[in-house]
């Protein structure tokens, strides 16, 4: 579904991604790990279409289309979901209105009619149960006054509502206690299907105790320097990132 080829991207003329290539197919879970500053969040932002990053080279093909020719909202409507590392607060906009707008935009893109109020509320109830999110959260304004853990759970809830083809979870595990981590991971696992895929970006191996990846990639200095199966995550946890640096001939 997604082919990233030799991707270069920079911010304020500083190159962050320096020739990243990756292929993702339906049904796969990819974990991207790497030390701070290696470009993990930049990759997520570039795929979602954040304009502060400039793509200088390379291409990304999503279901046969040039991703960079799609506006951020069209990427979202076409099934790309970004779980934010720091979800944004939008005071005064209720979760219900926000999600209804999002769901109906996606339906419009697919040529479907908007959901009726009752169908929409029913869908919300189902998904709330699925991801074990507190009803109280969905009655409030988008992320306003949510704790760190609540914000992350809310991202998973939105993901459940929108049923993306490709979910990119940017350090969704950071700042979570073990219960919240379990809820987030369960949500991701329950939403896994044969025809969708996810990219799980994480700094720690911890999340991968709950979400079992098919592939683990190590991102370092803007490039993927090592790819392997889930066992790579354990090796990293044990040996740290210095081991990778040595292996690729640094230090």
């Amino acid at each position: 579904m997604l082919q990233i080829k030799n991707l270069h991207a920079s911010i304020n003329s500083k190159e962050i991604l320096k020739g990243l290539s990756l292929e993702i197919n339906e049904g796969e879970v990819h974990a991207i790990m790497g030390p701070n500053g290696s470009g993990k969040s930049t990759l997520a932002a570039v795929l979602a279409g954040r304009e502060i990053f400039e793509v200088t080279q390379g291409e990304v093909i999503y279901y046969g289309k040039n991703l960079f020719e799609m506006k951020p909202e069209d990427r979202a409507r076409a099934g790309i979901f970004l779980g934010f590392q720091y979800p944004i607060e939008i005071p005064g906009v209720s979760m219900v209105n926000f999600m209804r707008a999002a769901v109906n935009e996606q339906r419009k893109y697919k040529g479907l009619t908007p959901l009726s109020s009752s169908d929409f509320l029913k869908l919300m109830r189902e998904k709330k149960e699925l991801v074990e999110i507190d009803s109280k959260l969905t009655n409030r304004s988008v992320n306003e006054g949510f704790s760190g853990g609540e914000k992350k759970k809310n991202e998973i809830f939105q993901m459940a509502m929108l049923e993306p083809k490709l979910a990119i979870l940017d350090e969704t595990d950071s700042g979570l206690d073990i219960d919240a981590l379990r809820i987030v991971a369960n949500g991701v696992n329950k939403l896994k299907r044969k025809d969708n895929a996810s990219i799980v970006i994480t700094h720690y191996q911890r999340l991968l105790d709950y979400i079992v990846p098919d592939f683990v990639h190590v991102l370092y200095k803007g490039r993927i320097v090592k790819s392997a199966g889930k066992e790579l995550a354990f090796e990293l946890e044990e040996k740290g990132y210095d081991w990778i640096k040595k292996e690729i001939g640094e230090e």
């Binding site: 909202e73 979202a76 934010f84 926000f98 935009e105």
Partner: protein, 482 residues
């Protein structure tokens, strides 16, 4: 990053007023300038009784001694009062024969606002009689109201038909010498509305539909007087979400409301006059004095305003809480874009015991505009246990606009409780991107955020009007939406 943000914001805020168009309606007017003779001429043309002429002349003489207020946070270009026509009545006659002749852009705006066809015809100036019998609609309203003893008519009619009420109440809340613009209005007001709700009567309908049908022809110097007698209730709606066709630059209206014991008045207004073009050229100057008095015990007055138009707005709907246990509210949304300037707020004057007031003001500034809240809460010595709660929020779009809050609090009774809260926030690029990432376009995102921000105020408007106002806000702020 700042550059990217600027581009987005320019796209959102760089829209022009889409409804400005020139009218070529024939008008009956008098020569430019203001003098005693002009005041006499206006009164004569209206066939007014002697007391009105006297009132106008007193106001005119007072006006000569006053100067334009300069304390507002506004840059007002010099106004030459001898270069203004103070009396101009559009001659009856239609501009168009059918809706097909009306500018398609205007029609689209009407549809976007969801205005019923019947009203669209009036507002666009289509010969209505050819399409429907509007006279009968009005007559039905009038009959229903008359059965209850409710008087709802034009100011001119009231002056002739109900001189006793007029003499008793006209200028009783806003005296002719109150301020420069109030004096000007008292001297030259052209017409306006008069409402009287008798004792114990609840007005069965929003006094809005009827008014809106007539709205297109209201004059430059309007005067409104609403009297709610004991135990009565009325909800009154002035203005229109639809574009106002008007080539007069200076507007100085006066609204007076008298609320007697146990009575309640709700006054809502939506103002969408021509704000000038993208570069700040043209536009209406709107200098309005609106004031009500809760005269009897347990009286209640509620002001709700949505202000999106005019180049300059100077307006402070206020309330004097005289009766014990009386209550007043002020809910306001003021939007400024491009080079618009608004200095608006309220005054709550607590005189009676246990009086309560609540102020919720939401300012939205975009483009290069300036938006100020100015409010006074005054608790007099005798106002035991008076309470006020004020909340003034500002929302900024971009970093080229200004938002200011000037709260004045004057408390002379130690048992009073006065609370004031203020916030300033900005629609951030990150909020917009978050919405984009969920499939919501930038323009819809701005609409969603703005409407969330003003929800508390819009909820106070009559239902069908709230929906229109919501769309109006979106149109006022968004880029050129297709």
């Amino acid at each position: 990053m700042d550059k990217e943000q600027d581009i987005i914001l320019n796209e959102i805020t760089g829209n022009e007023y889409k409804y400005g168009f020139v009218t070529d309606i024939e008008t009956e007017s008098i020569p430019k300038g203001l003098s005693e003779d002009v005041v006499r001429l206006i009164s004569e043309k209206k066939g007014e009784p002697a007391f009105m002429l006297e009132y106008r002349l007193k106001a005119y003489r007072k006006w000569l001694t006053l100067t334009m207020p300069t304390w507002a946070h506004l840059k007002i270009p010099e106004i030459n009062y001898q270069d203004i026509i103070f009396y101009s009545v559009p001659k009856q006659g239609a501009k168009y024969q059918s809706m097909d002749e009306v500018d398609p852009i205007l029609k689209e705006t009407f549809n976007k606002l969801g205005i019923p066809l019947e009203e669209q015809l009036h507002l666009a100036g289509v010969a209505v009689d050819a399409v429907m019998d509007s006279v009968s609609v009005k007559t039905t309203f009038k009959e229903t109201l008359a059965e209850l003893g409710i008087i709802f008519c034009s100011m001119n009619e009231a002056i002739k038909e109900h001189p006793n009420l007029l003499q008793k109440y006209l200028g009783s809340v806003v005296p002719y010498g109150d301020n420069f613009f109030a004096a000007l209005n008292a001297a030259v007001f052209s017409d306006g509305s008069f409402v009287y709700i008798p004792k114990g009567v609840r007005c069965p309908m929003e006094l809005s539909t009827y008014f809106r049908i007539n709205a297109a022809n209201t004059g430059q110097f309007e005067r409104t007087l609403i009297i709610a007698d004991e135990e009565s209730y009325v909800s009154y709606l002035e203005g229109c979400t639809a574009p106002m066709r008007d080539e007069n630059q200076l507007h100085a209206a006066v609204v007076e409301i008298v609320v007697m014991e146990n009575a309640e008045v709700k006054y809502s207004t939506v103002q969408n006059w021509y704000p000038g073009d993208k570069n700040g050229k043209g536009g209406i100057f709107n200098f309005v004095t609106k004031r009500g008095i809760c005269k009897g015990d347990n009286a209640k007055l509620s002001w709700t305003q949505v202000e999106t138009g005019s180049a300059i707005t100077w307006k402070y709907p206020s309330c004097i809480l005289k009766g014990n246990n009386s209550a007043a509210e002020f809910y306001s949304v003021a939007v400024t874009n491009n080079y618009q300037q608004a200095d608006t707020g309220t005054k709550m004057i607590h005189l009676g015991k246990n009086t309560k007031s609540r102020i919720v003001s939401k300012g939205i500034s975009a483009g290069k505009s300036n938006n100020s809240y100015r409010g006074l809460v005054k608790i007099s010595k005798k106002a035991e246990n008076a309470r006020n709660y004020s909340q003034c929020d500002s929302l900024l779009l971009g970093d080229q606009c200004g938002s200011h809050t000037f709260p004045y609090i004057d408390v002379q009774n130690t048992k009073a409780v006065v609370e004031h809260e203020a916030t300033t926030s900005k629609i951030g690029e990150d909020q917009i991107f978050y919405c984009n990432q969920r499939g919501i376009s930038t323009e819809d995102a701005v609409g969603l955020i703005v409407n969330g921000y003003v929800k508390e105020v819009l909820n106070k408007l009559p239902m069908e009007f709230a929906v229109e106002a919501q769309k109006l806000l979106q149109i006022s702020l968004e880029g050129s939406v297709g």
